[in-house]
């Protein structure tokens, strides 16, 4: 056995290295591997040859065989290492399946089964278990804790809006505050509230209002500037009070804590995965928001009705927003947290049409004072 090109062979059973010679068999269908340390020459059919891919050094080729084994891939654990450039080039040229990936039978069905299982598990968590748990837990949280948390959220929000210190943005013109309180009392008089409402105006040009956990309601000055009547503000306020009573903020925080952890896990550590996780969480909360908004609208309308406040102000506010939506250049704040749809405006309008015996919520002087609360 002196013909053929020299190579190294590892049999996959011992660590011993066999110096062998490799040649094409007489029928040109297989590689013939022979060496003094091998008990008998080996025959590797060309059709079964596979090479290791993604190696760092093109001047050597490591061959193995396609074979039914219980290994990770259906391959012979034996390895044949070739250095002869001619043989390597010849193999590359004539064996198109050299780098083919082979899978065990049943790999893909098994994968599909687990993929379906994990998608189901994640969806079940995101859309059933976490919302249900958040619902339950939001109800049993002690109210004073919720209030404390809500206050810290409001403080964070103030800093986020550019307040240099706590209370820097709070508007406290006494006449304005009196008008605001009158509005609040009128709205909440007719029903028992679970929370004591803490209502503030922040001096910021954004057209928005929000409800933090535990009865913390904040209106931004931009909304007062934009509103043409006190009834418009009253509508928005009633809507935020609905969020308070429904504990939407608390529930959302709890749910988001669970789902954010879950999304981060699913995306693992691939580059830039964090951004995708954040966007995913946004999509999720948007779907919850829509539902919560509709409920809050109904609640607000009932509240306006009971307080004998004209709901057409609320409707007009929606229309106003829709106009702003048209020229989307500078995105108005209220839109992003409160999706406006034509249906919502129409619903408020229809409701207002059925109202009778309404009286103004503020006198013109009080309304003027409220608009000037930040001066």
């Amino acid at each position: 056995m002196t013909d053929g090109t020299p190579a190294q062979f590892f049999d996959g059973l011992t660590a011993g290295r066999h110096e062998v010679r490799v040649a094409l068999s007489d029928d040109r269908q297989a590689l013939q591997i022979a060496g003094d340390s091998l008990p008998e020459p080996l025959r590797w059919p060309l059709a079964d040859l596979r090479a290791l891919s993604d190696t760092s050094d093109a001047s050597r080729l490591t061959l193995t065989r396609h074979m039914h084994t219980d290994d990770e891939a259906p391959r012979d654990p034996a390895r044949l290492v070739i250095h002869d450039p001619e043989l390597i080039a010849w193999l590359h040229r004539t064996r198109p399946g050299l780098f083919r990936r082979d899978l065990h039978k049943g790999t893909l069905p098994k994968l599909a089964k687990w993929a379906a299982g994990s998608v189901a598990a994640v969806l079940l968590m995101l859309f059933v278990i976490l919302p249900a748990m958040a619902d339950t837990l939001a109800r049993i949280i002690p109210i004073e804790r919720e209030v404390a948390f809500g206050q810290s959220v409001t403080r964070q929000m103030e800093r986020f809006l550019g307040g240099k210190r706590v209370g820097a943005l709070v508007c406290d013109n006494p006449e304005g505050k009196a008008a605001l309180n009158k509005m609040l009392t009128r709205l909440t008089d007719s029903r028992e509230m679970n929370y004591e409402i803490s209502l503030q105006v922040f001096d910021h040009r954004m057209v928005n209002a929000f409800a933090a956990p535990g009865g913390q309601v904040v209106i931004l000055r931009g909304l007062l500037d934009k509103a043409r009547s006190a009834e418009e503000v009253a509508g928005v306020l009633a809507h935020e009070l609905a969020h308070v009573e429904n504990r939407d903020a608390t529930r959302n925080t709890l749910r988001a804590a669970g789902s954010a952890g879950l999304l981060t896990m699913v995306l693992g550590d691939f580059t830039g995965g964090a951004a995708v996780a954040i966007i995913g969480e946004q999509v999720l909360s948007a779907s919850y928001t829509r539902e919560a908004e509709a409920t809050a609208d109904e609640f607000a309308l009932t509240m306006l009705e009971n307080a004998n406040v004209d709901a057409s102000g609320f409707a007009r506010f929606f229309e106003e927003l829709e106009k702003m939506e048209g020229k989307s250049a500078g995105l108005p704040g209220y839109l992003s947290t409160h999706p406006v749809t034509r249906e919502r405006a129409a619903r408020a309008e229809a409701f207002a049409a059925g109202q009778s015996g309404t009286r103004p919520i503020l006198t013109p002087e009080e309304w003027k004072a409220l608009k000037a609360i930040c001066d």
Binding site: Q8, F10, D11, G12, L13, T14, A15, R17, L52, T55, S56, R60, T62, D70, E72, A73, P77, V81, L103, T107, L111, W114, G117, S118, A121, M125, L126, I129, L130, M133, I141, R145, E146, F149, T250, T253, L254, R255, A257, G258, S259, G261, L262, T264, M265, G268, D269, F270, T271, G272, A275, V276, V283, A286, T289, S328, G330, L331, L335, S336
Partner: protein, 393 residues
């Protein structure tokens, strides 16, 4: 007979491989990362050649994906419920949400050590040399328990028992590591690692001098001395890592075979600093580009308020659309360039240095070793993947 180790692999092909596979990972929303990891490992393994014979990585991307899916099913319930419950507790007991983040971090630590051991077991089970498998015996929970114990001791002793932790954890791993049908054993004593802490102690000198300078109020000396403290501390950490590894390697036994690692701390420090600097400079190009786009995207307020409800209106404007797409692309480009450059200028040179520093002594009886049975490790490194353990290679 002594075997030296060579490293056969150059930066450019690796850079290209890392960039290409990273790009595929982004384009497939992370799905390709199992393939990326496999391909990069194949490349590194084939470059490391003890006695001139390359290692062989036989891990399969499909088994990694399967392991990940299994981990997701198990962890989906655990992580979701635990995070929510912790947020509730933190709500009810403390005023804020920070306690919840802290607690959820602490709750995941044992699983984290568990996952690390599992990942190591998987990698060793898929590594071959001269046709034989490596292996790590099961024992992940035992490892997690010990890791917690020794970490607690280290923290309670203000770091004085750090060498004890290093030694005991290395011993636990080494005594469960196999090549073929033979097991490694870790010899030596934990006290020998105190020699490796010498440069950490040396940090005390500039630190004390800095304090004196602060007392005297001399600004220039404060700056110079605190810089000296920082540099000595960094070198101290690198020195501890490299030197303790050197000592632990020299006291490992594999039958009659012994190992020597001639790695040099200064070299490792230089590679780490210069390599990260290059990667940082490279990544700053897309980062600056993104910053420019950011300023283009109207005010920052717009971005903050960019809820998804507004996406339809925004996307009607083709210019905004283009701007958003470019911003997203440069965002991912930052990570891609950073990752690929780090492979070429940090991981590769460090591995090359460690590989070339490894000598295998009395290697004669390696020929007698026989194959070990396959370790299925169905979950592959799924837990590590899901928990982002950071054992990227």
């Amino acid at each position: 007979m002594s075997l030296t180790t060579t490293f056969a692999g150059r930066r450019l092909p690796l850079l290209w491989l890392a960039f290409r596979t990273g790009l595929y990972s982004v384009l497939t929303l992370g799905l390709y990362r199992f393939w990326q990891k496999t391909r990069l490992r194949r490349w590194y393994w084939s470059a490391i050649r003890p006695g001139g014979l390359p290692l062989d990585y036989v891990g399969d991307p499909f088994e990694k994906l399967l392991g990940f899916l299994i981990a997701v099913v198990i962890l989906a319930f655990y992580i979701g419920v635990v995070n929510l419950a912790l947020m509730f507790v933190s709500f009810s007991l403390f005023q804020g949400n920070y306690a919840a983040y802290l607690l959820s971090f602490i709750g995941v630590i044992p699983v984290w050590f568990y996952a690390r051991y599992r990942a190591r077991r998987y990698i060793l089970a898929r590594t071959r040399w001269r046709g034989l498998r490596f292996g790590l015996a099961p024992g992940a929970w035992g490892y997690a328990f010990r890791a917690l114990l020794y970490w607690a001791l280290t923290i309670l002793s203000a770091g004085l028992l750090w060498p004890l932790m290093t030694f005991q954890l290395e011993k636990y791993r080494t005594n469960r590591t196999w090549f073929g049908d033979r097991r490694f054993t870790q010899g030596g004593r934990w006290l020998m690692l105190y020699r490796s802490t010498v440069w950490l102690w040396a940090t005390l000198v500039p630190m004390v001098l800095t304090l004196i300078a602060i007392g005297m109020g001399d600004i220039v000396s404060i700056i110079v001395l605190s810089a000296a403290t920082g540099l000595t501390a960094i070198y101290g950490l690198v020195y501890y890592r490299v030197d303790s590894l050197r000592r632990l390697t020299a006291t490992k036994q594999f039958g009659n075979v012994t190992l020597t690692l001639n790695a040099r701390p200064l070299r490792v420090l230089w590679i780490t600093l210069s390599g990260n600097l290059i990667a940082g400079l490279g990544a700053s190009i897309p980062a600056l580009f993104m910053l420019g786009l950011f300023l283009q995207l109207q005010s920052t307020e717009t971005l903050v308020q960019l809820g998804l409800e507004n996406a339809p209106q925004l996307l009607r404007d083709p210019a905004t659309w283009l701007l958003l797409a470019l911003t997203a692309m440069s965002y991912f480009a930052i990570f891609l360039v950073w990752g690929a450059l780090r492979h070429a200028f940090v991981t590769l040179p460090i591995w090359r240095h460690y590989a070339e520093a490894l000598v295998i002594d009395s290697a004669e009886d390696l020929d007698q070793l026989r194959q070990r049975p396959r370790d299925e490790t169905t979950q592959a490194e799924g837990f590590a993947e899901a928990l982002d353990v950071g054992a990227s290679l």
